[in-house]
């Protein structure tokens, strides 16, 4: 009896393992098929279209001070390696300038003093990492729309690219967003966090806050803002560092 039970159990478990191995091998093989990859990528396009259709102008929820995370963890790069950024950091960013260029009528070069003199917005929002965790913090910065209005976008500008001082293995971080997000009222270039100056670990002197998107879209250590017509002109063409490197979704609203 004991023997028979064991045999049956062995049989059932080998069926289970065999079945699972077949499913896994099948799924892994499918993941490598270009046609199937196109299918897998279609979900991003669909989510982008549908979410834009239903709530292009909706505001991300804002929280009260009592709801903030007691400890807002950092992630990604916690400092930049570029000599230029390190020089600025050593000088307390006194001589830092944000360059705004690309498809604009008036390229800008703004000091932090000039940026702080522009209109500002403070918001307590939730930061959702693609990995699954969330943290709530308070951000103050200049609305990106104010910067872009000053630079005046050309008619053919369709995406706004953020070039950063930090890098992974020598490749500089960058991200891009569409104009709906660029002109969204909660999209800001933040210089303050939780009532203090934006810490280096969180991307000093300026980081993008593009609420309604996952964390990797919120470019840190922003040095240059560029308006472009096609994402294909930047990096490997997928619109961001992680998008190029490991195929994260460019549309990170989900």
């Amino acid at each position: 009896m004991q023997k028979k039970l064991l045999t049956r159990r062995n049989f059932l478990s080998s069926v289970a393992v065999g079945g699972s191995a077949t499913v896994l091998a099948g799924c892994d093989a499918l993941s490598n098929s270009p046609t199937f990859r196109q299918f897998l990528d279609s979900g991003e396009w669909l989510s982008y279209r549908v979410q834009r259709f239903f709530g292009a102008s909706a505001l991300a929820p804002e929280y009260t001070e009592a709801e903030m995370s007691p400890d807002f963890r950092t992630n990604g790069n916690t400092r930049a390696r570029s000599p230029e950024w390190n020089r600025h950091a050593a000088e307390g960013f006194a001589n830092y300038r944000l360059e705004v260029g690309g498809l604009v009528e008036t390229p800008l070069s703004l000091s932090l003093t000039e940026i702080r003199a522009m209109p500002s917005r403070t918001q307590i929002t939730r930061h959702d990492c693609v990995e699954g965790w969330s943290a709530i913090g308070k951000w103050t910065g200049v609305p990106l729309s104010a910067v872009l209005d000053q630079a005046r976008l050309r008619d053919n500008a369709r995406f706004i690219v953020f070039h950063c001082a930090d890098d992974f293995g020598g490749t500089s971080y960058y991200e891009s967003i569409d104009l709906v997000d660029a002109f969204h009222p909660q999209t800001i270039l933040a210089y303050d966090m939780n009532d203090g100056v934006l810490p280096i670990g969180h991307g000093a002197p300026l980081r993008l806050r593009v609420e309604r998107h996952l964390g990797y879209k919120h470019a840190k250590f922003v040095m240059r803002v560029e308006a472009v017509e096609h994402m294909s002109d930047i990096g490997s063409g997928r619109g961001g560092y992680w998008e190029d490197r490991i195929n994260y979704d460019w549309y990170a609203g989900i």
Binding site: L40, S42, L59, D71, R73, W133, H213, I254
Partner: protein
């Protein structure tokens, strides 16, 4: 009788076997097998996504400095599942396991349970979020079709008599003693079956979809009431995980019942639609 049923019935105008009945319409069968594939993919890709941050919290926020109510982790040589104050050693299955190359991996769910089988958050998200659209499309069509063709009213909605406590108790007794419905009684879903299917269709699947949407920052902007319903994004993530395991539990019971009721007959009925009524005891 629908056209399909007429066609199907026409094929067997003179049935050799009076015990063979037409039980599942093609809409039910297509949805069943689509779901079988889609839900397996959603579960396994979901477990890979979970591996990126194998901790669950209650409330709006929750990250490494905060305390999780559930965590899958490891020490140097032990895999551990922590639920509240309870710690369970899970070496070999959760937290610490060997990959097919014999290498120790400090990840929550093992390779055989995830899509893809190696750690790849970008790819698992693409599987999960694309199949979510297939799932949504499938359930939308099925729901409309079931209301339209009477499946919901005729086959799924419990009758008043079936809901009497005495009847439900009797069915539980029958199931517990493996005295499953025979003959004419097996033609229809019994009350426990109906309640299980309704529970999945009306409670678990909507919870799954809504908690999934709550994890989307763009959806929280468009539909902020989602956060109020579930008490925050991290709570929604926890509920999503719990309901996923309730669906796995439903699946396990479903498989056990199929085996007990006669796997060949049951499988055939879900493939061809034809089901042999179990003979009544003489």
């Amino acid at each position: 009788m629908s056209d399909l049923e007429r066609t199907a019935a026409g094929k067997n105008a003179a049935p050799r076997d009076a015990g063979l009945i037409y039980r599942h319409r093609v809409s039910t069968r297509i949805w069943h097998w689509t779901n079988a594939v889609v839900l397996l993919v959603m579960l396994m890709s979901g477990l890979m996504i979970f591996n990126a941050h194998p901790r669950l919290y209650w409330g709006e926020y929750g990250a490494n400095p905060d305390s999780p109510w559930l965590q899958i982790g490891s020490t140097a040589d032990r895999g551990l599942l922590r639920i509240g104050n309870l710690t369970i050693e899970t070496t070999g299955v959760l937290g610490l396991w060997e990959d097919p190359n014999g290498r120790a991996q400090h990840r929550a769910f093992p390779y055989w349970a995830t899509i893809p089988s190696t750690y790849n958050l970008a790819l698992s998200r693409r599987w999960h979020l694309t199949f979510a659209w297939l799932f949504a499309g499938g359930i939308a069509i099925y729901a409309i079709w079931s209301l339209f063709n009477g499946h919901a009213r005729r086959d799924l909605a419990p009758r008043a008599a079936e809901l009497r406590p005495r009847h439900i108790l009797e069915e539980i007794k029958h199931h517990a003693t493996l005295n499953l419905p025979k003959g004419e009684a097996a033609r229809r879903y019994n009350i426990l079956q109906k309640l299980a299917y309704i529970g999945v269709l009306v409670v678990l699947i909507p919870l799954m979809i809504l908690t999934g949407l709550t994890m989307s920052p763009a959806m929280d902007a468009a539909w902020p009431w989602l956060l109020d319903v579930f008490g925050g994004r991290q709570s929604a993530r926890s509920v999503h995980f719990i309901v996923a395991f309730l669906l796995v539990l439903f699946f396990l019971v479903h498989i056990v019942m199929v085996i007990l009721a006669g796997p060949i007959n049951e499988l055939r009925s879900m493939i061809t639609g034809r089901y042999r009524l179990p003979k009544e005891k003489r």
